[in-house]
């Protein structure tokens, strides 16, 4: 490995990291704005223009809050919980292809932290570790509400991961690869997977809501029943980490949805742009296209949150096991038959 390669990757990683952080920050602002607009209000508008400095003010507030820790025998685990939640949320961003490549300083720079060939498996692995952050935090809080939140989160994630994995299989049968870069490349033009695999997309979308603990699947937090769920006992920046991880997760899962089903960085006419205008402009536009798709999904997350009430626990399990999993299996069979018939 030459040093130029290391520098290149470090820069890419730093940029991705910063981007995730900034997006998570501004998602909190966007969430409040969207919530307000959907409720005929205007939302935060005092800190900065249109409330744009609100996330900074919130961060400052969280930092200056008293650091309280409950009387628990698991002081170590109490700190590890939010740390795991945060790191897993950030780790997933490593394999997402943010764009094709830039041609700078005589080198081709891949807009991706690492292009491993089993990226999708990696994502599933990291996401399923994410539940430990919540479980450990809830357990170490030494509080029955936290524990209940953690138990709910765990069972919910386990159930929905099954359906999520099955919905992926149908997609993988079509693409024949686990690498997100190749999946993106296959969708060049308007060849988006969502047109071929709408059912798979729907199941994946629903499961993504469940995996990120967003309404209507926010049973792990559910303020009206469990105070704050698994983060009841947390305060100050540890609490901030949990909340931040939730928004980072939302950003990453939006990115994955965009890459898997909505063509990733592809936009119509990209090939033409590469040939006529230049690689760099075309790919920066590609990054912007991906970014817009991601923002669209984030908006969708928020839109849904302020529309639907929370599922009851048995409804959640019913939907996961009795509806989504059979649907996913059916989808696999139909995909298989179609592949046999048409290829």
């Amino acid at each position: 490995m030459d040093s130029a390669f290391i520098i290149e990757k470090s820069v890419v990683i730093l940029v991705v990291f910063a981007l995730t952080m900034i997006m998570a920050m501004y998602s909190t602002w966007a969430e409040r704005k969207v919530a307000a607009f959907l409720q005929d209000r205007v939302g935060p508008n005092r800190a900065g223009w249109g409330g744009l400095l609100q996330p900074l003010a919130d961060g400052l507030k969280l930092f200056s809050k008293e650091e309280f820790s409950p009387n628990t025998p698991n002081k170590f685990l109490f700190v590890v919980g939010p740390a795991i939640a945060m790191s897993t949320a950030l780790m997933t961003s490593a394999v997402i292809p943010w764009g094709d490549k830039l041609h700078l300083f005589g080198r081709d720079i891949l807009l991706q932290a690492t292009d491993i060939d089993n990226a999708l498996l990696y994502i599933f692995a990291v996401v399923s570790v994410g539940v430990y952050g919540i479980m450990i935090g809830g357990w170490a809080s030494n509080n029955k509400f936290s524990l209940m939140g953690a138990v709910r989160a765990a069972s919910q994630m386990v159930s929905y991961e099954v359906a999520m994995g099955l919905s992926m299989i149908a997609l993988l049968m079509m693409t024949g690869t686990l690498s997100l870069r190749e999946i993106s490349a296959q969708q060049a033009g308007m060849n988006w997977n969502v047109f071929y695999q709408p059912v798979s997309f729907l199941i994946f979308l629903i499961c993504a809501f469940a995996e990120t603990n967003r309404t209507p699947f926010d049973l792990a937090e559910c303020e009206s029943e469990l105070i704050g769920g698994y983060h009841t006992e947390y305060s100050s920046m540890k609490m901030g980490f949990y909340l931040f991880a939730e928004y980072a997760n939302m950003f990453i899962s939006s990115a994955i949805l965009a890459v898997l089903f909505f063509g990733g960085y592809n936009y119509p006419g990209m090939q033409w742009m590469v040939e006529n205008v230049g690689v760099n402009t075309a790919n920066i536009l590609g990054f912007l296209a991906l970014f817009i798709k991601i923002c669209g999904f984030i908006f969708f997350y928020m839109w849904v949150r302020w529309t639907i009430p929370r599922f009851r626990y048995d409804q959640l399990m019913h939907l996961g096991w009795k509806v989504l999993i059979p649907l996913a299996i059916l989808n696999i069979m139909v995909t298989g038959i179609c592949l046999l018939l048409f290829k």
């Binding site: 969207v34 607009f37 959907l38 409720q39 005929d40 209000r41 205007v42 508008n45 729907l202 839109w303 849904v304 302020w306 529309t307 639907i308 019913h318 939907l319 509806v323």
Partner: protein, 183 residues
Amino acid sequence: MSTTIQNISLSGRKKQVSNKEMTFLENLYLVAIVKGLLITIKHFFRKKVTIHYPEQVREMSSVYRGQHQLKRDEQGRENCTACGLCALSCPAEAITMKAAERKPNEKHLYREEKYAEIYEINMLRCIFCGLCEEACPKDAIYLTTSKVLVPSSYEREDFIFGKDKLVMPLDIAMQNAQLKNAN
């Protein structure tokens, strides 16, 4: 008889609750969710109801009455005779007062022989119902059309308005007297 009562719907939107089994499509909740999403997105583009308070002030009704005033008569003497009827009628128990006897050299200050030495209204308790105004036999206390709201403060004491804030300023009493003479 009973059937007709069951079918009455005052709002015109009455719906019978049904407990029938949901079909598979309904079990997915998708149709219902899409309907809900359409409703909320309509609100996204609606006009916002928020009034940006310090910059924008809400229009008050033309019959708005707030902020009490203890009146003076045309000669600038205070009307109040500290009878306590306003305090008695106040549902919020916001008024307290202490009576004093008028000295011979104070005849130009107070109309009656007894006057309120201290007269206080707790603006945190007052509900601006106007019952004090109704109760007063001397036309001494009135809620005014003043659009000035009670200013916010960090101290509870600041909300107890004494005579310094309540009594009508002398020059206004003089103006009123002149107006009356002119007519």
